[in-house]
Amino acid sequence: MSALRAENVYKVFGRRSGEAVRRLEAGATRDEIKGHGTAAVIDASFEVADGETFVVMGLSGSGKSTLIRMLNGLWRPTSGRVMLGDADLSTISARDLRALRRRRVSMVFQHFALLPHRTVIENAAYPLALQDIDRTERRRRAGEALEMVGLAGWEDHLPSELSGGMRQRVGLARALAAGTDVLLMDEAFSALDPLIRREMQEQLLELQATLGKTIVFITHDLNEAMHLGDRIAVMRDGRIVQIGTSEQILSDPANDYVAQFVADVDKTRVLTAASVMVRPAAVVVTGTGPRGALREMREAQVSAAYLTDRDRTLRGVLRDEDVLAAQRAGTDSLVDITRQDVTPVKVDAPLMDIFAPSAETPLPVPVIDEHGRLVGVIPRVTLLEAMSPNELPGIDAIDAPADDEPASADLTTSGVTS
């Protein structure tokens, strides 16, 4: 079962919100219903799976803050349903809603929202106090949460004595101490300066790797969205315009707005080897003789081939001159003349990690899966074209013929994408 589900959720602020929703459903735009109210969220539907990090991204005024506040009932939808697990937040009583918030869902705020007159540990223990947990247990659990976020030793300080990044760690510790499965993060790192923000993102990823919470993260920073999110929902003017993984959004933007948005993204961090690799032109299976290897290269019109086992486990690279020499010498084993001078990369490696291997050799970089099997190759020209900012979406560049770089890109079959 999904941890969170929104079904055709609308939120309109104003006196005639019901009428506004009816007109929106009939196809009216946000501007057309201005007289009836302000539509903050229009027809939002999505599901968040258990343990998923779901990022909602949009500029200010796109409705993302309103949306996240409907996920813990701080706002009620004007129309539509919000399900938190099996609880329907659109019809729940105020009392049940409070109980639900104590048990199931916690929140991290943009400006930290700490109690200034309470110490760090009292702040972290705040949700536990609301759960009526006794003092010693409260202190123990809050202490654990503080340790998780790296604030051990700061328990008895006041928030005012901490830097912004540390205060938000307290905010995060407070949400973790609550022990809920679902964590809502509203622009949690937006008020921090870039270096601290990066640090916090890494820490969140580390924590998430061990804790496996269901996280809904709101941000206006696409790089942050792509870095943190398993999936991303892009919002504009109250509507969700696209939901997908960062790669889907980068490589297949739903409209010009999204395309424009992703134009500035540092693709090397987001795109992985899998999204730009192409099929290797010449693959030789161990057991083949030099003659077979040479035929393979001749047919593909390349001067080198990858040697793999029958299950495609990568063994290395065969160069045409080595194979020719072996044939003259009458050797049958290709394994002995295989070169190891090309570093393979993992299929989920971000492009930024592929530049170095690619620079070492004129040959396409082989891409392997978790079992060491060859799944594709990345010619250097493909890598460069994927980066090109005037190609939107960037990886269309793969369709371009790869043979305009002489001699080096010769293991690729032109025009074939993975």
């Binding site: 639900l100 869902v105 916690s106 929202a113």
Partner: protein, 296 residues
């Protein structure tokens, strides 16, 4: 000038009977709620008498010393010493007993004004409609000339301490309400939201978040209530509330500059003492300190 513009309503033989209506209303109140007013009277008289006894019965130096120690604890030795010197001056012009009567009046009126004002302020902060309804009433209470309150109050309670206290409560109520509302509304909405998000009840949010964070502003309101009460208590001397006000009023009617100055100076000393103590207490609250550190 000729024409209708120069005519007053009276010339037309008509006058808006607002004053008469209020007078009728007051008479109706007096007869209908006589029992209630008697209860109020008993409560006010007994609490005032009790407090005045506590302040006046012990020797002057003992009361002055206790008040000075309070000042020392609240702020520091300078205020303590200053308070002692001030009280010595009050005693020196033979106004000590009057000053204690006035202090008792101020304290009783302030406590009641705050007991009404702070809860009302909380209510107005949480409910926009109540706020909109209460605001003009507060404006009315604050700007209506203070003497005017005395008239109906005297009709209801007759002359003496009680009408003085009641008029003072009405006059001093407004800042208690306003500052409480302002303080609560100024609390960072995100922090209040955090309370909701973690499943706190509205009552707990009020006690654990809103009131503590509004405390510095509410303390400023308390300070204002006490200051206004002190200024009104002097005016209440006119209806025989006693204390320094009585001397000020009689100095005025007899054009006695010396007595007027001595009683007036005693009021000033009392005012400074109360103001410094309450503002010192506002500064010393943990929230005020934490907020100062945050702002720094």
């Amino acid at each position: 000038m000729s024409g209708p513009i120069g005519l007053s309503m009276a010339d037309l033989g008509y006058r808006l009977p607002l004053g008469d209506a209020v007078e009728t209303g007051v008479e109706w109140l007096t007869s209908t709620f006589a029992g209630l007013f008697d209860v109020i009277k008993v409560v006010l008289v007994s609490s005032f008498d009790g407090l005045e006894y506590v302040l006046s019965a012990p020797p002057m130096w003992l009361v002055a010393l206790v008040l000075a120690v309070l000042a020392y604890v609240a702020k520091g030795w300078r205020l303590g010493v200053g308070a002692l010197i001030g009280f010595a001056v009050v005693q020196g012009v033979d106004q000590w007993d009057n000053a204690m009567t006035t202090l008792a009046l101020v304290l009783v009126a302030s406590v009641i004004a705050l007991a009404i004002g702070i809860p009302l302020g909380i209510w107005t902060a949480r409910n926009d409609r109540v706020s909109a309804a209460v605001r003009p009433v507060l404006d009315f209470m604050q700007t209506m000339p203070a003497f005017v309150y005395l008239i109906p109050v005297v009709i209801i309670f007759l002359a003496g301490v009680v009408p003085g206290i009641v008029a003072t409560i009405i006059f001093a109520l407004a800042p208690g309400v306003r500052f409480t509302e302002l303080g609560i509304r100024q609390v960072d909405p995100e922090v209040v939201e955090a309370g909701h998000a973690f499943g706190s009840t509205p009552g707990r949010i009020l006690r654990q978040i809103q009131l503590p964070l509004a405390q510095p502003t509410i303390m400023a309101g308390i300070n204002q209530v006490i200051m206004l009460a002190l200024s009104m208590v002097v005016i209440a001397g006119m209806v025989g509330a006693g204390g320094l006000g009585l001397d000020v009023v009689s100095a005025l009617s007899r054009v006695n500059v010396a007595l007027g100055f001595e009683a007036g100076l005693s009021v000033v000393i009392l005012a400074i003492y109360l103001d410094r103590i309450t503002s010192a207490l506002a500064d010393r609250s943990p929230v005020a300190r934490a907020l100062r550190a945050t702002a720094a």
